[in-house]
Symmetry: C2
Subunit: 189 residues, 2 copies
DNA sequence: CTGCACATGTAAACAGTTACATGATTTT
DNA sequence: AAAATCATGTAACTGTTTACATGTGCAG
């Protein structure tokens, strides 16, 4: 399981509440992991019981109280152990690819609709990652930031997310072009 | 659930046994879905009970008997329904990205080892996808094949798999270069 | 006064992985 | 003789998603 490690990684740089970790999983962390609020709360409870994170109650006047968590020494050691183990190969697991695999047997119009939807979504996500990257590197240029910036980890994972979404977008548009061209030319002609 | 749809898509072009579907999930289909033999057998049993695939017993002399499955009209209709629904956004879910996210707090040497491992793995997978693509398009050039070839679906998904693995490889190598450069220069210097 | 953001969970259903189980044939 | 391939599963466990549950404060 790597959800626990994703949560630990998200807590490394700052103390966060369960709610804030959930938010992190919806923006920056979204390039490499995804989790629902319920999972995050459950995982934080387990991590606390095992001593890998420590929570402290923060009483708030205008908002419901919250618990802020930080990674303990044990948590960091756990991350170190995790990093030392061979990483499982990752693969794409995508509804859209299943649909395109079956494209020759399905209605092209419908599929083209789904592909254009996804292309637009990927493009929007790419734009938001670009924005995030600009914020992270500030006024430095990229090479300078990567060489001497503090915390390049989040920057590098965000870069991967950006490339991934760009590739998604480009592939979707290319598949659309192929399907449209074939509709005109027809296979076997 | 899309495992059922991935299985249906794999059976569209040819009759296959559970074992052969498992093999398909280990090579070509691997770019868009992944499944263990147990899952495949269980899913085929369910699909047959629901009338989405039809199995027939094939008695073999030298090998254990096997059951070959084909997609029924109901199965094709199910795929069509699936294709018409909005596809869930896909995201990366990768142990290595979690590790890189935490890179600033971890031992670089260990991480570099994992990244080089993955780069080699991705490179090998990319090579095997390139080979698969060559086999699929035969002596035609790509544009010609995409315009007039039969069954471009598997080709297009394999192309996505190839781009994905190339991007993985390149990203891993870039991260290694960054970590090595920082080891020399040191952050904040 | 409606909807969104804050804040935290429980319960049930579904999907995926790991371990176990069996047994024949073909290749090295 | 050992290892890989063919061929098919069951059982237990772990992880993920969906649905439900609750309550406050602020902005439009």
């Amino acid at each position: 399981m790597a959800l626990r490690h994703a949560v630990l990684a998200a807590l490394l740089d700052e103390e966060l509440s369960g709610y804030q970790v959930t938010k992190a999983f919806a923006v920056g962390v979204a390039n490499f992991w995804h989790a629902l609020p319920q999972q995050v709360y459950a995982e934080l409870a387990k991590l606390e019981k095992e001593g890998l994170v420590a929570g402290r109650e923060v009483v708030q006047e205008t908002r419901p109280n919250k618990r802020l968590f930080r990674v303990t020494g044990g948590g960091l050691a756990e991350l170190e152990r995790f990093a030392a183990a061979v990483a499982k190969p990752s693969f794409l697991r995508d509804d859209l690819l299943v649909k395109v695999q079956a494209a020759d047997h399905l209605d092209s119009e419908v599929l083209i609709g789904r592909l254009l939807e996804r292309a637009a979504f990927a493009d929007a996500k790419a734009a938001s990652f670009e924005q995030l990257l600009r914020v992270m590197r500030g006024d430095r240029d990229e090479a300078e930031f990567l060489l001497r910036g503090a915390r390049v980890g989040p920057y590098l994972t965000c870069r991967r997310g950006l490339d991934f979404e760009r590739a998604n977008r480009d592939w979707c548009r290319e598949v659309v072009a192929v399907l449209r061209a074939r509709r005109g030319a027809g296979p076997g002609s």
